[in-house]
Amino acid sequence: MCKSMEVNIAGITFKNPVMTASGTFQPRECGDYVDMNQLGAVVVKGIASEPWTGNATPRIAETYGGMLNSVGLQNPGVDVFLQEDLPFLEQCDTKIIVNIAGRMIQDYCEVAEKLQGTSIAMLELNISCPNIKEGGVAFGTDASMVEKVTREVKKYCDKPLIVKLSPNVTDITEMARAAVSGGADAISLINTLLGMVIDVHQRTPILSTKMGGLSGPAIKPIAVRMVYQVANAVEVPIIGMGGITTGEDAIEFILAGADAVAVGTAGLIHPTALTDVVQGIQYYMDRYNVKHIKELRGLVK
């Protein structure tokens, strides 16, 4: 790995700017396809204070250039995560970021507290998943809630906190500013857009939850726009995601203002997408003789 790809986010150094997008990478299973040692970070699927069963099936629907999911944050809970999954992850030479899920502020705090003192590098606060019906959704679309939940969680953990924003809002910069006011050390965006697919033959929605989160290449222009807007609105580091499939896609986000990027849906379709993106960035840097990836950050004004 070339040193020039190193990035620093809130004091943590990542060997390169490519991370897994939360919820799209299961270390045990995906390890057969991707050498995790080559990734900047593995972002673990949303972990809650208790196990969550998730939503009924079907949870997946295909769309043009993307997919809907309504997994609903199925997860084994923080205790099982710490016992079973973390030791496995610790064997890899990569940073670990844990995405935390909750229905109430207290849930998030509880998880944050339990992750204190572990080997994980950062926390990512998921206040933006469209697939849970309780509090979670409202958090991500109401600026005062964004600020509040961020501030509370910060009290329980002194690891750097990333706040992950929902794109389902009128003004993304308002949410970003609220997160930063609340003490966010970094912002990640975008989570999925709320969508719906109907089976015209069955005359029912395909997903059991009717609506789900849209991800994949289809949403990339919206994600790039939001990263650009947020980069011009706040000073904290940004992790950009939404439809990234190639090294050039990653560069697009970095030029728009992202410090690092995450790859989600592309890795479901091309299991090697994550490392392909790393190589694609390297190729671009070689071609244009970019010495440090950070030189490209926010170059598009």
Partner: protein, 263 residues
């Protein structure tokens, strides 16, 4: 760090043949050495489309492997854009695949009498299984009306029952009707077919105290355990509580007694 001797990846497989074997049903032979050799009966592969709107993998069970030749056969119905696209492939074309995926049927040593129950598009993966099982093999195949693959099973089955809903071919009735009508018994049952059929196979196994293994199906996002999209309820035998297990990586084969069907 878990060692990575060889990372798996999507790869182009050559289409050896692709022929229609029944209304809207095709049989495709693909060449891919590694996948062919590694496949266990009951496993599936992802096929990927070239079409503009079809990004997600299409999971298709492996029907038969000819590992000496590095080939494998799949049998699929044309039901939408993806399978329509596959049906157009010609010998010499390629198709991107990933696999083998999931866990196949457990083939326990010492099992003497096998009952193999397939319905419709669930029949193909049972062929390689029937081939490989050792002992007495009683095969029950249920179709709506038109049959396919029946001749292939003849070579390997000790007893072969064919049923159609309308009785146009073989006996009239469902696979359960056949199991009952002919008092079929054995030590292990292996099944694959529509959910409605599996929902009847499960109580039949329990009632007759026959261990069963059934193959589940669900809409998939990845096919290899990454997205947690393709789950089914599986009962923890100790706690009696169900939890969602991933069909693609924890299955698609589950023990019949474990699966909880939603009603």
């Amino acid at each position: 760090m878990p060692s990575h001797n060889k990372l798996k990846s999507r790869a182009a497989a050559n289409v050896v043949s692709n022929i229609q074997i029944a209304t809207n049903i095709y049989e495709m032979v693909l060449h891919h050495d590694d996948v062919s050799r590694a496949t266990q009966p009951g496993q599936f592969i992802n096929l990927y489309c070239n079409g503009k709107a079809t990004l997600l993998p299409r999971p298709i069970s492996i029907c038969e492997t000819q590992s000496d030749y590095g080939t494998m056969k799949i049998v699929y119905a044309v039901v939408g854009a993806g399978t329509e696209e596959f049906s157009q492939r010609q010998p010499g074309d390629t198709v991107d695949i990933l696999g083998p995926l999931g866990h196949g049927y457990d083939m326990h040593e010492g099992v003497k009498e096998h009952i193999i129950v397939g319905g419709g598009l669930g029949i193909p993966p049972l062929l390689e299984l029937t081939k490989r099982l050792i002992g007495k093999k009683k095969v029950v195949l249920g179709f709506r009306d038109e049959t396919f693959l029946v001749d292939a099973f003849k070579h390997y089955a000790d007893e072969l029952y064919v049923a159609t809903n309308d009785g146009s071919v073989g006996e009239q009735g469902t696979v359960i009707d056949i199991l009952e009508r002919h008092h079929i018994r054995g030590d292990m049952l292996y099944s694959c077919g529509p959910k409605a059929m599996l929902e009847e196979v499960q109580p039949w196994c329990i009632q007759h105290e026959i261990e069963g293994q059934i193959s589940m199906e669900e809409r998939m996002g990845c096919g290899f355990g990454a997205c947690v999209g393709c789950v089914t309820k599986v009962k923890n035998q100790e706690t009696e509580q169900w939890e969602y297990k991933k069909i693609c990586s924890d299955g698609p084969i589950f023990y019949a007694k474990e699966v909880v069907f939603d009603v």
